[in-house]
């Protein structure tokens, strides 16, 4: 095991204000179960889980609420015991509605119900087979906890003919304000180590690269200590501080120097699997203790919250409860962001609940939020220089603005990772990322419509 500096620097990137000192150094606090939980069936990428409970049912902590629904999907469990008040569509942070189970956790268990927490049987990872471990990862409801929420068991099971050569641990946490992964590495280094050993076994002993940005020297030290006596090809790679260093593709380039081709290519096509440190710790718990993923560490920060904290809250905790746990609002909140400032979603209400991918909740005051109206592109090229995916963001935005989705597609808008570096650097305050997202959504809708049409024709 050794620590090395990253040999590769990707093109572009920006340096936003990190503001990490607000929540840095605040040890992870476990939040008590709030009176009401709203557990979404769509906490991951892919098909939402199929809800199997109904209003009036009493559910026990760890009981299955939603079944896995398709190949790219993960099950959802009850984060706490309580009475199901209703099953209804609720808004998620990104704007779409998905069915959610509303649980009243203050209700007492009816007679005859065994109210002890449901867990899975602990597995000995050294003797368990790869299939058993993979099934466990899925049964525990684990999906990528970095942000996208890709089902982990799919990622850990490369398609035939493809081999994982590098397992990359994503501890970059390049989003401003967020410290959840940082503290997880500091406080649960042993979990991360065990998770890595289990994943190495599942993936057939690939080399391991632990990628951490240089602004977290204590996390690097903690990882060095935890992995000191590990055998095999394991390296800690210290990455330069640059946004979006935590993006999967940029992390692969920064650590092993490989470039992931355009979509639909995946990291496994260049022999890499990238996992967030939170996911790795969850895998360790799921295998060793049989623990189901029922909570996650979320950073509640910003200059409009009384006490910024790193909170381990049950999944489905409403933002309003999270804010109350952190001492409430401080002054007037001008903007509430689910996630980080660069890739997070501004939300208009605190009546939204956390999911497996909620890495942060930011409350910003008017001093931190800038009211602007966007103007015409002045062709300065700053977005082009900032784009880490080598896209001509200005041209794409102009094409989308005039409804020319085809030109945007020709300019490879589908490779856009929506990191926000272009909008961040635009002096005319143009919502370039939003334009790209719009183009991507309409292209995806068109492809889906074409597929449906082809399927209908084939059925005929």
């Amino acid at each position: 095991m050794k620590t090395v500096k990253s040999q590769f620097k990707f093109k572009g990137g920006v340096h936003p204000d990190y503001n990490k000192e607000l929540a840095r150094g605040k040890a992870i606090e476990r939040m008590p179960v709030p009176a009401e939980l709203v557990v979404s069936m769509s906490q991951h990428l892919g098909a939402p889980a199929k809800c199997i409970v109904k209003a009036g049912d009493y559910v026990v902590k760890g009981q299955l609420l939603g079944e896995r629904n398709g190949f790219i999907s993960v099950p959802v469990y009850a984060p706490a015991s309580g009475l199901v008040k209703s099953v209804e569509p609720r808004f998620g942070p990104a704007g779409g509605k998905a069915p959610a189970v509303v649980i009243d956790t203050t209700a007492a268990a009816p007679e005859g119900v065994d109210a002890t927490e449901r867990t899975l049987a602990p597995l000995d990872w050294k003797t368990a087979t790869k299939e058993e471990l993979l099934a466990r990862v899925n049964d525990a409801g684990i999906c990528g906890m970095g942000g996208a929420g890709f089902p982990t068991c799919v990622k850990l099971n490369p398609p035939p003919g493809k081999r994982c050569e590098y397992l990359i641990l994503n501890g970059a946490e390049c989003e401003p304000y967020l410290c959840a992964d940082h503290h997880l590495m500091l406080e649960r280094a042993d979990r991360v180590r065990l998770g890595v050993e289990i994943m190495r076994k599942i993936l057939g002993m690939p080399a391991v690269r632990i990628a951490i940005e240089a602004n977290k020297p204590d996390a690097i030290a903690a990882m060095e200590k935890a992995f000191a006596d590990i055998d095999g090809n394991v390296e800690i790679v210290v990455l330069p501080v640059l946004y979006p260093q935590g993006s999967e593709k940029h992390q692969i380039f920064a650590t092993v120097g490989r470039v992931v081709p355009e979509p639909p290519a995946l990291p496994i096509d260049v022999g890499c699997v990238v996992e967030n440190v939170g996911t790795v710790a969850a895998i360790a718990d799921a295998v060793e203790k049989g623990a189901i993923l029922l909570s996650r560490v979320t950073t509640v920060s910003g200059d409009a919250v009384a006490e910024p904290k790193n909170v381990e809250a049950p999944l489905g905790t409403k933002y309003s409860d999270l804010i109350a746990f952190c001492g409430g609002e401080k002054g007037r909140v001008a903007k509430l962001i689910s996630g980080g400032t660069m890739m997070g979603f501004a939300v208009s209400t605190a009546d939204i609940s956390t999911t497996k991918t909620t890495s942060g909740l930011l409350l910003l005051s008017g001093r931190r939020v800038f009211q602007y109206s966007s103007q015409a592109c002045i062709n300065c090229g700053r977005c082009v220089r900032a784009c880490p995916m080598n896209l001509n963001a200005a041209e794409i935005a102009k094409a989308v603005e005039s409804d020319d989705i085809k030109s945007a597609e020709d300019a490879h808008v589908m490779t856009c990772i929506e990191c926000g570096a272009c909008s961040f650097s635009c002096p005319a305050y143009r919502p370039i990322t939003q334009f790209c997202r719009r183009a991507k959504n309409s292209i995806r809708a068109r492809i889906a419509a074409e597929k449906a049409k082809a399927a209908a024709a084939a059925a005929k």
Partner: protein, 269 residues
């Protein structure tokens, strides 16, 4: 001089002969009725019939694969003209126009955020459901107005309005609206419920001053449930356009003020 004239004349003759032969040998036999039917259609190429433009619909009509009367823009006169050409019976159609089922203007419906991104409803709706407190209501960023081939829709006070005279009922706005609150209704119907929120009364009242509470008063005032002028979806009244109410008194009696007599706006084009 003479040689030049002869050469040019010769080339001309040869080319003319080639064209004459090509016209005979390579001509595509087209049913003459297609041209006639196309001429009878409005020529707006709106796509409302489900075919690619008026020509596409005309071909389908002549081939007998489309019903006569699918052209909402042309209406009965057009269907009658086509019936004359093709010798088929016209299915009677009523002109349908778009209706925006929301009356929550900026002063009536609360906005919970300041949205200053791209001015398009679909993008705004993808940002935490939009900035309107009512998640079912019109966002007013004009996705419908942008796709309207006739310029019949304009956004006023944060609300899309349809000009009934210009609307050809093509249904493009219906497909473009992310909130799915535009409906094609018979042009003759005058009484409408301008709300799309099926939530309970108190929930609706929190976000909008003119939202339907599902009190059933409109139904009671129009002859009760047996009369069948209204249907209810959750706590939302819907006009049964198969059997629309005619008594305009019920509009004034609506306690939520979400009903209207002929809400269509005239642009003055």
């Amino acid at each position: 001089m003479t040689t030049a004239i002869l050469i040019i004349a010769g080339i001309g003759l040869a080319a003319a002969a080639t064209l004459a032969v090509a016209d005979i040998c390579l001509s595509v036999k087209e049913d003459p009725r297609i041209g006639l039917v196309t001429a009878a259609l409005p020529g707006a190429n709106c796509g409302g019939c489900g075919f690619p433009g008026c020509d596409g619909y005309a071909r389908a009509l002549v081939a007998g694969t489309a019903p006569n009367g699918a052209c909402a823009a042309g209406g009965d006169a057009c269907a009658a003209a086509i019936a004359k050409i093709l010798g088929v019976a016209a299915t009677a159609t009523e002109k349908r126009v778009a209706l925006v089922k929301c009356c929550g203007t900026r002063s009536e419906a609360i906005r919970v955020g300041d949205y200053n991104g791209i001015c398009d409803c679909n993008v705004a709706a993808a940002t935490a459901g939009g900035d309107k407190g009512c998640t079912y209501g019109c966002l007013g960023y004009g996705a419908c107005a942008n796709v309207c081939p006739k310029g019949a829709i304009s956004v006023q006070d944060g609300l899309a309005k349809v000009d009934k005279r210009l609307c050809i009922g093509c249904g493009k706005c219906v497909a473009a609206c992310p909130k799915k609150l535009i409906e094609l209704v018979p042009a003759s119907a005058t009484i409408h419920v301008l709300c799309n929120n099926p939530d309970k009364g108190p929930t609706v009242r929190k976000v909008c001053g003119v939202g339907c509470m599902g009190c059933h008063l409109c139904e009671r005032n129009s002859g009760g449930k047996e009369a069948g002028h209204f249907t209810f979806q959750g706590f939302l009244a819907k006009v049964n356009y198969e059997n629309p109410p005619t008594d305009e008194q019920i509009v004034a009696k609506c306690p939520a003020k979400c009903m209207s007599v002929d809400p269509h706006f005239e642009t003055g084009h």
